[in-house]
């Protein structure tokens, strides 16, 4: 009797331990509840309106990493590198992977490539990923609101983002809202293509003028170069673009 209980306890401990191990290997990304607030974006999406009420929402605490994206393409073969049509990716989709289901090899600088933020993913693929997690891409306003801080991080973002080396997601210190890596690379947002409204097509000289030349007066904080760069970057994208320094994270309504 006693022995049997002992064995049961042993089994329970074993199973529990295994469970913990498994969890450690593929801990689902934590989400941070971003509190509601009023936000003044760098560029107003609505002419004549400066401040915007942002509802509380959930945001992934860190960008999606390669291991997670690998799991996704295992489950959804149509999003493997060899399967995604040019309509949904311009040609460098997951270009740094070894193959459809093999990640980049570890290197001197990057010991655990699977933990790095996945980049080289198009908007269509990022959307499909979040969809599969029953999440969505954050709205531009939500992303900027979550990233908005009056701290020097803004400037470090400016210097880091150009390097194009994917960050190990979730390692550097989080910001005041408890969110990691918002200032280490570009990230997709759901409405990236709505940044600047013109009556013209997407290849608009006018659009660039609005951002860079005559129109800097419409920017609310002229010193916030990081946000400035992000808006310019977003406005230049097409949903099929796949770039080395462009990753994503997901959001969810409360």
């Amino acid at each position: 009797m006693f022995r049997q209980v002992n064995r049961l306890v042993f089994q329970a401990v074993l199973i529990g331990g295994l469970g913990l191990l498994l969890q450690a290997a593929q801990a689902p990304v934590e989400m941070v509840k971003v509190p509601a607030g009023v936000f003044t974006p760098q560029f107003s999406p609505r002419p004549g309106q400066k401040d915007f009420q942002v509802k509380s929402f959930w945001l992934d605490a860190r960008p999606v990493n390669r291991a997670e994206f690998l799991e996704f393409v295992r489950k959804y073969p149509q999003w493997r590198r060899s399967q995604v049509p040019p309509l949904f990716q311009e040609g460098n989709y997951l270009a740094d992977w070894q193959g459809d289901l093999s990640l980049p090899l570890p290197s001197q600088e990057v010991k655990q490539p699977e933990l790095q933020a996945v980049t080289g993913v198009s908007w269509m693929a990022a959307r499909a990923y979040c969809d599969a997690q029953k999440k969505r891409l954050p709205k531009l306003l939500e992303w900027e609101y979550a990233a908005d801080e009056t701290d020097p991080e803004k400037l470090s973002w400016y210097s880091l983002v150009g390097i194009g080396i994917p960050v190990q997601a979730g390692v550097a210190a989080p910001n005041q809202k408890g969110i990691y890596d918002l200032h280490h690379m570009y990230e997709w947002v759901d409405d990236f293509n709505q940044v600047i409204m013109t009556n013209d097509s997407r290849e608009g000289a006018e659009k660039d003028n609005q951002l860079f030349c005559g129109n800097s007066g419409s920017a609310t904080d002229r010193m916030n170069y990081a946000a400035f760069t992000r808006y310019a970057f977003w406005s230049s994208l097409h949903p099929s673009y796949t770039l080395k320094n462009l990753g994503f994270r997901c959001a969810r309504d409360l």
Binding site: R46, P47, P85, P86, L87, N199, R202, P239, S240
Partner: protein, 206 residues
């Protein structure tokens, strides 16, 4: 609202056999199960419905060029001009060529522009021809279509949209063959491109 949805569902279900029939006399070049070409918009999925409350898959448009514009029906200022321009493109074609072309208007206001609202809109603008389709989609697929085409639409505080005014020409494969960037460009340009993209061979000759 729910009632309208249910009514739509009922109409949809009753329309199903008709749709299945429609698939059987598909254009011979669009074989069943054949993959779209790389940049064809017909990779885009989604549950679309026409203003006649029929379910539609974008890839069923394959085989004929498509003149496509996006708008919303409660728009008072610019959208009627977009529609008038699409009608003018149709009028610019010889009548035999009109039948070889499809005219597709997609609403980027799926919440208000239900299939029945779209039907009223079509009627109000005197559109009866079967090669015209006013499409209702889920907001997910509408925003994907808009993003892929570079059409921008952003709701404003007054319940209107700020939006761009492109008219897109898709070739028989569903690839973007030309895009008229704004309302200023003379229609002759897109019309010439359309004529160049009309299917040459008659569907029955094969």
């Amino acid at each position: 609202m729910k009632k309208i949805f249910l009514l739509g569902l009922v109409c949809l279900l009753t329309a199903m056999p008709a749709l299945a029939e429609d698939h059987s006399h598909h254009h011979p070049t669009s074989l069943q199960g054949e993959k779209p070409t790389g940049k064809s918009l017909y990779w885009l999925g989604g549950q679309w419905k026409t203003h006649q409350n029929q379910k539609l898959e974008l890839k069923s448009l394959k085989g004929k060029p498509v003149v496509l514009a996006m708008l919303y029906t409660s728009c008072k200022a610019v959208c009627p001009l977009i529609l008038e321009d699409v009608k003018a493109i149709e009028k610019g074609l010889a009548s035999a060529d009109r039948a070889k072309t499809q005219f597709v208007i997609v609403s980027f206001d799926p919440e208000r522009d239900t299939p029945s609202v779209l039907a009223d809109y079509a009627q109000k603008h005197g559109i009866r021809a079967s090669n015209w389709k006013f499409l209702h989609g889920t907001s997910k697929h509408v925003s994907e279509l808009g993003a892929l085409l570079g059409v921008r639409f952003q709701p404003n505080a007054q319940g209107d949209f700020i939006h761009s005014n492109q008219i897109t020409l898709l070739n028989v494969e569903g690839e973007v063959a030309y895009q008229r960037p704004d309302l200023k460009e003379p229609l002759t340009i897109i019309l010439e491109k359309l004529k160049a993209n009309l299917p040459v061979s008659h569907p029955h000759q094969h």
